[in-house]
Amino acid sequence: MTKSYELARIIAGCKGGDAQCYSQIVDIYSSRCYGYFYRLTGNSDISDELLSELFVKLVEKIGSYKGGSFESWLFKIASNIFHDHLRSKQRRKKLIETQIIEFESETIGPKKSDGELTDKLQIQLARLDEDTRELIMLRFYSQLGFKEIAQMRSEPIGTTLAKTHRALKKLREFMEG
């Protein structure tokens, strides 16, 4: 893990418009952010797009980072990008609803096509609802504490703890079952 003073130096460089510092940020966080997007979408092409969008947003919004947990700030943007993606997906889905109903009746569960790589975990994650899946992935990939996750989600820490516990227990049962 990058030491906090080293990270602070890199972030200061980013604020000053140093391309090298942005490059370091990409190296540090791309793997975790990609994992977060991939586990939520199950699609490598979409994850590629969302990851690119995240770092472009980072360049645009770095001025609004006023200290505190950088991971929390970065994953908040990642979460917003994912929700924007979901919304646009919903709009597209409505547009071609009739064709999708036909298509979904043929295949139930996660599909393997167009850059979609399916593993056992991805299949079981797909059985969880979106909010639960996002909570697990946020906890795992952001490496944030429950207190910070609760703040990010604007809910009491007890609620976050209970939801995460239930979600992880369920996922474990699915994986072992």
């Binding site: 893990m1 418009g17 391309a19 942005y22 490059s23 990409v26 190296d27 791309s30 793997s31 975790r32 990609y34 994992g35 991939y38 586990r39 490598s44 994850s47 590629d48 990851l51 690119s52 770092f55 472009v56 360049v59 645009e60 790589l117 593993d119 056992k120 975990l121 697990i136 795992f140 990939y141 490496q143 944030l144 504490g145 429950f146 207190k147 820490i157 007890g158 703890l161 209970a162 995460t164 516990h165 992880l168 227990k169 996922l171 474990r172 994986m175």
Partner: protein, 174 residues
């Protein structure tokens, strides 16, 4: 994903559950997270990372250019404002010293010879005659200007100017 942030989960769970339940919750979470660690997500492609870095470099360049333009426009705006204020101030000062329309500046009409003359008595008489004539012409100019505003008289004004020049030259002929 080996590193986790340092927080005392047991202590956290014990705030909401009894010791036995907290222990069970902790066990569930740790085992589930172990499953997640055993099934890592794929890594982003190197080409993707290179593209992202190139895109960032491009955006930074555009951002710098935008910032430079903004500073340039601000400086130009400030310079324009300073020039405008300076021009207005200058005009105000110049107008203050300038003669009002229709007002004849005597000193500029009085020939230099009067100023240079040593014969004070003669010069005084000449000056009195000359001033009287100028005052008469000044009255006529004012009358003409007011009638010009009403719509007549470029030629009359020209005639008057000719008359003034004639008086001026006659004065020096004697």
């Amino acid at each position: 994903m080996e590193e986790r942030n340092q927080e005392n989960l047991r202590e956290l769970f014990e705030k909401f559950f009894d010791a036995e339940q907290a222990e069970s919750c902790l066990d569930d979470i740790q085992k589930a997270e172990q499953i997640l660690r055993e099934h890592p997500a794929p890594e982003p492609d190197d080409t993707l990372i290179a593209n992202i870095k190139a895109e960032i470099a491009m955006r930074l360049q555009a951002k710098r250019a935008r910032h430079f333009r903004q500073v340039f426009y601000e400086v130009m705006g400030a310079a324009a404002a300073i020039i405008f204020i300076a021009a207005v101030s200058l005009q105000l000062f110049v107008e203050k010293d300038a003669p009002k329309p229709g007002e004849v500046v005597y000193a500029s009409l009085i020939p230099a010879a009067i100023w240079d003359s040593d014969d004070i008595t003669t010069a005084d008489e000449d000056l009195a005659v000359f001033t009287a004539q100028i005052e008469q012409i000044e009255d006529e100019v004012i009358t003409l200007q007011s009638s010009e505003k009403a719509g007549n008289g470029d030629s009359t004004l020209a005639e008057l100017e000719m008359e003034l020049m004639e008086i001026n030259s006659d004065f020096w002929k004697g």
